[in-house]
Amino acid sequence: MLRILIKLIVQGVTDIRHHPWVQVLTLAAVTLVAFLAGLFLLVLHNLDQELKRSQGEIQFQVYWKPGAEMVSVQEQWRDLERLDGLKNLKTFTPEQGLEVLTASLGSGDEFAWLRGQSPLPATALMTFAVTGEDHHAWAKAIYLDLERMPEVEKVSFNPLQLDLARSWGHFSNRVIWPLILFLGLVLALVVGNTIKLAQVHRHQEVEILRLVGAARWYIQLPMLVTGAFLGLLGGTLALLMLKGVQLSLKDLLHFPPLWLRLDFLPVDQALIFLAIISGMGVVSSWVALREK
């Protein structure tokens, strides 16, 4: 019995050769739909991660006066590291600021003549976790402390950021997850229908198998395996394409002040993605068989 089951499972995979064009086109359609859905999921995932990161966070950017004594500024940076609630501190000397500016403008050696005499001020980008009940009072206190530091010319922060952080959090819970569920449904329906159409193409084979006395499971098992295999292969190809896109765009938004890095889908989400597509391959093949 086991031998027959293995034979039928293998047959389900190798049956693809009997209608190569139909199967290749189906695979292409499944891959592209899964890729588009995966791309959307990737953006949503990164947006969600970013929102989660920024929820309850606030950033201050401190600018020292041009020409400020760097030894004194670096001492202040060390003091800043000890502040309560500080999650991240990025500091830039005038020279580092120039390097970042040159890199973000992609201007090559255009600013080479400024090396060693950068006109930019020393800056620090500080990310705090919001603490306390009165967020606005807390933010104002930090702002005033930073502004009072020696040789600081300007401190910038957007008070709206506090409200936005909280609002984004609500948005994430109420919109992003329902959107992901909706996306999953669309993906399942499109992939399911595509595979179902490819399986309907095999109606003649099913009719003949029934005619020669094949049992129901003998006919269905290879076709369900074909559906699952197409879904799995299409989903895997889509994930590989997504990985390529993620690698090529990973650092696209990784520049100040955004510092956004595009992450790939976590393993559990990638597995769920594959499971949905393969599962729809099985379900749609079963529906196609029932309709014959």
Binding site: I4, Q204, R210, L211, V212, G213, A214, R216, Y218
Partner: protein, 224 residues
């Protein structure tokens, strides 16, 4: 082998078979003749379980079609082979693969399967075409593949529905001789046709003439 009593079948308001009764013993050869739409195909479809029996009693190869469970229909079809006018073969597969299909569903060991298929293909003059795709065969060759698939399992009952309908006279007579060979080995054959010329190939065969779903004439006492 076949026992039918008062079998009737309707498609909506149209009665395809009306009160049909007959008995056919093992090893018999029966011609079902009559015009198109007379009910020949409906009867053959009932006999191999393609459509459910609506009224009357029918026992085929020991299977009671009144009480047969859906799971048992594949078992009935392993005893009853069918040859159709439109061949019903898989054109993209080879001759060998098409014929072997009927044995594969019975899980026959591969060496035995290969021997059986080769022997049948040899008998039907198809051995040289064994690995040719069926799409490349002529109509007559495709019909022989369909016959090979039907006989390779050694069925108790062979049903043929207008098997010569798409063939010229010469090919039709060659095909008929194949059915006669099969019958000579002791198998029961029912052949539905409106080709009167085929009847002369086996004068001792039983003949039933059907019109509008009813038997209008037979050359023997239909029931025992």
């Amino acid at each position: 082998m076949i026992h039918l009593r008062h079998v009737s079948h309707n498609f909506g308001s149209h009665w395809a078979l009306k009160n049909f009764s007959l008995d056919l013993d093992k090893g018999g050869f029966l011609f079902l003749v009559g015009p198109s739409g007379a009910g020949k195909t409906t009867l053959l479809r009932i006999l191999h379980g393609a459509i459910a029996l609506q009224r009357g009693q029918a026992v085929v190869c020991g299977f009671d079609l009144q009480t047969i469970k859906p799971k048992a229909i594949p078992l009935l079809r392993r005893e009853v082979s069918v040859v159709f006018q439109d061949f019903k073969i898989l054109p993209q597969r080879t001759v060998f693969a098409n014929v072997a299909l009927a044995l594969e569903v019975r899980n026959m060991p591969r060496p035995l399967l290969q021997r059986r298929v080769r022997a049948v293909l040899r008998g039907l003059d198809l051995e040289s075409k064994a690995h040719v795709s069926c799409a490349e065969l002529s109509g007559g060759e495709q019909q022989r593949v369909a016959v090979a698939r039907a006989v390779v399992v050694g069925p108790q009952l062979l049903l043929a529905d207008e098997p010569t309908g798409n063939l010229d006279r010469e090919l039709a007579m060659r095909l008929m001789s194949l059915f006669l060979q099969f019958h000579a080995h002791g198998s029961t054959v029912i052949l539905a046709t409106h080709n009167q010329e085929l009847l002369s190939c086996l004068p001792e065969a039983k003949i039933v003439h059907i019109e509008d779903g009813s038997i209008v004439w037979a050359n023997w006492s239909l029931t025992e």
